[in-house]
Symmetry: C2
Subunit: 207 residues, 2 copies
DNA sequence: TGAAAATTATTAAATAATTCACAAATAATT
DNA sequence: AATTATTTGTGAATTATTTAATAATTTTCA
């Protein structure tokens, strides 16, 4: 499991999303060639990616959709039970808290932190406690490895704290710059950069 | 310009963001080694990436920050004058329309489309007309190549229409599946997949 | 002004990722 | 039951990307 390449790892969510859709539509088995057309990734790449987790396709038959979904859970997501925290409960943070399918995706947000926790704007139906950021150390769930960062400023200080508390990965919605401590992983969700990527790519192909 | 690799193209927005920040802070020149620490990309990779657009670093001196920014604009973004459209003016679409630094990023959203344009929820200060989706063909700006997709359903039909109208790239906020027509490029902005990517990567390193 | 230090650009080497080609296994068909 | 069609899994080949090594250029400082 250790030697799964970065490129492959980044395709797994794509497969998972497609498989969930297929499963929901009642599809029981799928060929690598069908999936290929579905997700726009060469079938041989798909087979190679899958085979890294073990052999569970059947020659002449294909893959069992639901079995595949379970294997993804088992091999990659510690049964999707990651205990995550959210930092910053403004408009965006709230939207994320309210996201419906949250729980069976990769784990769940256990608690949130904010500079003004009393100003929580999210709906009461979401049963996630919001603490003051000063209580980070006391309230962070044991073994928490993932933090979602939705604050407008002051990212560096918080990232450094998180690092000391053992957090390994950050989903970053901030556009503010911060230095990533050694050993941490960061994924940016950045509309502006995404649009630029696309514009650059489209223009570079045109010329 | 044609042979810039995909990997490099995806790093350009990162560089650009960092350079803008440096410029705003009054930094006039930067070394590849400094930038390297700033963005967590090896300095040699940075120099290689930059050299693909021409030679504008100076040995023993480094790079001129503002010159670099201009070169990015000239070489990659057609002077950031991309005419884009937005499909779907709900909560998310509105948030995107209101995004402040929009104009100097990669171009601008010229107009938007929705099934219920009269229900436009965005603030009047944003001077972007919203048309009914039926008027797509008549109202799409000439030469428009980029569309931002923020609709909850019915993506496939719209993507096919956009393809016929000459749109080349889609920034996709939809989680709905659609088949990407030949020759189009898509970038997903997907919180769920991003979190999964991170969880998978963190777990795969742990083991 | 000249020598030493710094830094980019680029060729070559190393590493990573994808794709091909086909053996092995299963399913479908006669 | 035997034969033919499919379809996966993987070693080998290819392609893409990153990194190392170093030549060339500029700056800095005595």
């Amino acid at each position: 499991m250790t030697n799964i390449s970065k490129a492959t790892l980044q395709r797994y969510p794509i497969y998972l999303k497609a498989l969930r859709k297929l499963s929901a539509d009642g599809t029981k088995r799928v060929l690598s060639s069908e999936l290929s057309e579905y997700v726009n990734i060469k079938s041989t790449t798909i087979r190679r990616d899958f085979s890294l987790m073990g052999q569970f396709g059947k020659q002449g038959y294909g893959y069992d959709v639901d079995e595949l979904i379970n294997i993804f859970a088992r091999e990659l997501g510690e049964d999707y039970d990651e205990k995550m925290i959210l930092i910053g409960v403004g408009r965006l943070g709230t939207a994320i808290l309210n996201y419906n399918n949250w729980d069976y995706v990769a784990g769940e947000i256990v608690c949130a932190f904010d500079l003004q926790p009393e100003k929580r704007s999210h709906e009461p139906k979401v049963n996630v406690p919001v603490y003051h950021i000063d209580q980070l150390k006391e309230k962070i769930p044991p073994g928490c490895e993932i933090a979602i960062l939705c604050i407008p400023s002051g990212a560096q200080e918080i990232v450094d704290q998180l690092h000391e508390l053992g957090v390994k990965g950050i989903v970053n919605f901030t556009r503010e710059h911060f230095v990533l401590p050694e050993g941490m992983i960061k994924k940016d969700v950045d509309v502006v950069s995404t649009i630029q990527e696309l514009v650059f790519e489209v223009n570079s192909i045109n010329k």
